[in-house]
């Protein structure tokens, strides 16, 4: 919308109404999350309120290897591994799809796009059965590879649109100098696509980090659980909740993804919106 050069009272009134509505909506959205301040409250309850005597005791309570550090390490290895595998496999697959006229290129892309829509939840029962047949239940490798595969359709699609944006002329110059396709991929395309690839990586990591159902179904041993499941088994399964430590755990578990998300949003320069990344 263009800035209005001539200010009119009606327009000012409309702006005031819009701002009031936005403030109301923002308040409504913020309200449920206010409870997270319970993390700093020694007498925390389900009700949000300012702590009378702010404390870090709740963080100390959950910061044990068994409750926090091992699950976070598990999350990091499964989700970080999944992100790396997704990025590597996506760039390999997206390169020929972007650069060559492949006979089955378009059907493949449509299949991939179709797979983006498949509800991962719905295939978890068959995945569990398949995993139990090949002895991969309760394996962190299995979860990592599955999370990588789950990130793949979107990863390929996004990576291809990033590669499409890199002019072929740059590669042709490299080819003219005698570079092979592999060399021009590694030396020309990947460096140029790095911001895009990091978006794919962070996106996969953030989605995997928040994924509860996949490790919940596929893992059993408590020491192998990621933070997403550990927080549930620790707090959720027994009636009354211990609100202070729960909020503290929530903060510690959420913080890494929020920071990563903010970093990517900044990288894309689109303010708050990752939506920009999907425009290709």
């Amino acid at each position: 919308m263009k800035p209005w050069t001539v200010a009119s009272p009606r327009r000012a009134a409309a702006a005031a109404v819009v701002h009031a509505l936005l403030a109301l909506l923002a308040a409504a959205f913020a309200l449920p999350a206010l409870w997270l301040v319970a993390a700093f409250d020694s007498e925390a309850a389900s009700r949000a309120r300012l702590p009378r005597a702010p404390t870090l005791d709740n963080f100390a309570t959950v910061a044990t290897p068994d409750t926090l550090f091992v699950p976070l390490a598990n999350s990091l290895w499964m989700c970080g591994g999944a992100a790396l595998v997704t990025v590597a496999a996506s760039v390999l697959a997206a390169y020929p799809l972007s650069r060559f006229q492949l006979r089955f290129g378009r059907p493949f892309l449509y299949t991939v796009l179709f797979a983006t829509g498949l509800p991962v939840t719905a295939i978890m029962v068959p995945v569990y059965s398949l995993f139990s047949r090949v002895g991969m239940v309760d394996s962190r490798w299995g979860v990592m590879l599955f999370l990588a595969a789950a990130g793949m359709p979107f990863g390929i699609w996004l990576t291809k649109s990033f590669l499409d944006g890199i002019p072929v002329e740059l590669e042709e110059a490299a080819w003219a100098d005698g570079a092979s396709a592999r060399q021009s991929l590694l030396r020309v395309v990947v460096p140029l696509a790095l911001p895009g690839l990091s978006v794919v990586g962070v996106f996969t990591l953030v989605l995997a980090w928040g994924n509860f159902f996949v490790p919940f179904v596929l893992l059993q041993t408590p020491e192998r659980l990621p933070a997403a499941v550990r927080i549930y088994t620790f707090f959720g399964q027994y009636g009354s909740m211990d609100y202070g430590p729960l909020a503290a755990y929530s903060v510690l578990y959420t913080l890494p993804v929020v920071l990563l998300y903010a970093a990517v949003a900044r990288l894309l320069g689109g303010g708050f919106s990752l939506g920009g990344a999907m425009k290709g």
Binding site: Y95, M152, S161, D164, W175, S250, K279
Partner: protein, 317 residues
């Protein structure tokens, strides 16, 4: 995602043109077989973890596969028994209705209306306002699902913040998670998902040419009329694509509901994913749980196909 329909401007087309010029001209370019080889790792992962389970789903739904008992020792072909049970099971009917309520309430009414409203209101506002409001809404979206579940469980608790606010306003309080569990999870999911629709619509709105709106205004149209007759028609494709993605996302929500109500009380918030989980992995009846999953897949596949059709014309052009 949704904007895939909208965007993909010059870049893709330029590359396509250049590709036909470049490909095959240079002797160092790889042979056809070598060109497709790099796709292999991605294809292998997708086949092993996506295609195989889907095929297995089709097979298992005709058997009595189970975690324990006779079906576990020797899985037998049982024909359409699972489907007959599916068609007559009151729990399935209940879950299907609840899934529809959940989808329409949180996905279509909640996320889409709220997301569009936010996008329209934020259009042309100062960057400060946009990032403050947008930051809060996106914050809910970035929150991991388990945490969102706990946050909302605490919020709606008998002693929770919502009842406290209602009390201050003089409105009646109630134990939301037990009296209206499906409304509770609908609200929580709308809260969590609105940001996605908002971002999609914001991006699409910023691409509506200002001249069109100016022209309508010159012709005497008010703000509401401009939105209704100029902006919304231009956004039709984005809305369709976003709605479909939201639908696919919403029908498969498990974690949020599981953490908040675990499907209860008495199955009053058991949607299809929760029913599938209970039947297959709690009761151990893999075959029947898989059949429920198949119903879910069929719905999702249908929507996915429609989504593809929505995208296609742009791609082909």
């Amino acid at each position: 995602m949704g904007e895939g329909a909208q965007g993909r401007p010059g870049g893709a087309r330029a590359a396509r043109g250049a590709r036909s010029r470049g490909a095959g001209r240079h002797p160092l370019l790889p042979s056809p077989a070598a060109r497709v080889a790099p796709i292999a790792p991605a294809a292998a992962l997708l086949l092993a973890f996506f295609a195989a389970p889907v095929v297995w789903t089709l097979w298992a739904s005709f058997t009595d596969a189970a975690l324990t008992g006779p079906g576990a020792a020797r899985t037998e072909f049982v024909g359409l028994a699972n489907f007959e049970r599916l068609a007559t099971d009151p729990a399935v009917l209940n879950a299907t209705v609840l899934t529809a309520v959940f989808l329409i309430g949180s996905g279509i009414v909640g996320q889409t209306v709220l997301g569009m409203l936010l996008a329209l209101l934020m259009q042309g506002r100062s960057p400060w306002v946009r990032s403050a409001v947008g930051g809060i809404v996106v914050g809910a979206w970035v929150l991991p699902e388990v945490v969102a579940g706990f946050v909302w469980a605490a919020f709606l608790e008998r002693e929770g913040t919502l009842n406290r606010v209602l009390d201050a306003l003089g409105a009646p309080q109630q134990s939301w998670l037990t009296t209206v569990p499906i409304l509770a999870v609908v609200l929580a999911n709308a809260w969590k998902g609105t940001a996605f629709s908002m971002m999609a619509y914001s991006a699409a709105l910023s691409e509506v040419p200002g001249e069109l709106k100016d022209a309508a205004r010159v012709d005497g149209a008010g703000t509401a009329a401009v939105v209704r007759h100029v902006v919304l028609p231009l956004l039709r494709r984005t809305v369709a694509a976003t709605l479909l993605l939201v639908t696919l996302q919403t029908v498969q929500v498990f974690t949020l509901i599981y953490v908040m109500t675990a499907g209860g009380p008495a199955g009053r918030s058991t949607t299809l994913p929760l029913l599938m989980y209970t039947e297959a992995l709690r009761m151990g009846d893999i075959a029947y749980g898989t059949t429920v999953a198949l119903a879910l897949l069929a719905v999702a596949g249908l929507f996915s196909a429609v989504y593809l059709r929505t995208l296609r014309p742009e791609e082909v052009r």
